[in-house]
C-alpha cells in the first residue's frame, strides 16, 4: 500500500468521525426537544444513550485520525461540523438561519483556526510528536494494513 492510499484512509476516517459527531449532536437536540413538555421523562434515556454513543464514536474516529493528519488540515475539515449542523438544524428542526448567523459561524471558525495554528512554530505538531516517539511515524506500510 502506498502513502497516497494510506492518506486516503485517514481522510475517510476523519470525515466519518465528523459525520458521527454531527449526527450525535442532531440526535441530542432531538432528545432535548422531547423533554420540553416539563418534568424529566424517563423514556428519553434510550435515545440519549444512543446519541451519546454515536457522538463518542465520532470523537474516537476524530482522535484516531488526528494522529496521522496534519492539524491544520484536520481543522479545515472540521468546518464540515458547522456545515452539517446548520443544514441539519434547518431541515430537521426548521431553525431560522439568517445571514448574521452564517457570518458569525464563519467568524468563529476563522478565530478557532487562528488559535489552533500557532505562529512561529517550525514543525507541525505531529512531527514533534514523531521525534519524541518514533513508533508513531504514521505513514508506513505495515502500520496501515489494519
Amino acid at each position: 500500500m502506498n502513502i497516497e492510499k494510506s492518506k486516503q484512509i485517514y481522510y475517510t476516517t476523519i470525515c466519518v468521525g465528523i459525520g458521527f459527531g454531527v449526527l450525535g449532536q442532531l440526535l441530542l437536540k432531538l432528545v432535548a426537544l422531547q423533554t420540553t413538555g416539563g418534568a424529566f421523562v424517563w423514556s428519553v434515556i434510550p435515545g440519549l444513550i444512543v446519541a451519546l454513543i454515536i457522538y463518542s464514536i465520532g470523537v474516537l474516529f476524530w482522535i484516531f485520525s488526528l494522529r496521522h493528519i496534519r492539524l491544520s488540515v484536520a481543522y479545515s475539515l472540521s468546518s464540515l461540523n458547522y456545515v452539517g449542523i446548520l443544514f441539519g438544524s434547518y431541515y430537521m428542526f426548521g431553525e431560522q438561519i439568517d445571514a448574521a448567523r452564517i457570518s458569525g459561524v464563519a467568524l468563529i471558525f476563522t478565530g478557532v483556526f487562528l488559535v489552533v495554528s500557532r505562529s512561529g512554530e517550525k514543525k507541525p505538531l505531529e512531527m514533534q510528536e514523531t521525534l519524541l516517539r518514533p513508533e508513531l511515524v504514521p505513514l508506513q506500510e505495515e502500520k496501515v494494513q489494519i
Binding site: L28, G104, I108, G111, V112, V115, S119
Partner: protein, 120 residues
C-alpha cells in the same frame, strides 16, 4: 438568546475549559509529559484531578442537553467554539503558557463571531 440561555451556554463552555485544564494538570503533574504512553496513563489515573475532569465533563454535558431544550442547535453549537478562546486564555493565566499574536487575534474574532451568532 436571553440572559438565562447565555448563562447556560457560558457554564457549558466554562466547565469544558475547566475539564481541559484539569486533564492537562493531571497529565503534567508537575513534570513535563515525556514518558511512554503507559506511564502517562498510570499517572493520569492516580491523579485526583482526573475526577475534576470527569465531574466537569458530566455536568457540562448535562447542562448542554438542558440548553438544547430551548436554544436552537444552529445557534448553540457554534457558540461552543468559545471554548477555543477560553482554553488558551486559561492556559496563559493558570499554566503560564505563552500566546502568540495569532492566537490573541483568533480569540478576539471568536468573541465577535459568538456575539453575532448569539444575537436575539
Amino acid at each position: 438568546m436571553n440572559l438565562a440561555q447565555w448563562i447556560q451556554l457560558l457554564a457549558v463552555v466554562g466547565l469544558g475549559t475547566a475539564a481541559q485544564l484539569a486533564l492537562k494538570a493531571a497529565i503534567d503533574n508537575g513534570k513535563p509529559a515525556q514518558d511512554a504512553e503507559e506511564a502517562i496513563l498510570r499517572r493520569l489515573l492516580r491523579s485526583p484531578l482526573i475526577w475534576v475532569w470527569f465531574l466537569c465533563y458530566v455536568v457540562s454535558t448535562s447542562l448542554w442537553l438542558w440548553a438544547l431544550r430551548t436554544i436552537p442547535l444552529s445557534q448553540a453549537f457554534p457558540i461552543l467554539g468559545l471554548q477555543f478562546a477560553l482554553v488558551p486564555l486559561a492556559s496563559s493565566h493558570f499554566l503560564g503558557e505563552k500566546l502568540s499574536w495569532k492566537q490573541w487575534l483568533g480569540i478576539a474574532i471568536i468573541v465577535i463571531g459568538v456575539a453575532f451568532v448569539g444575537r436575539p
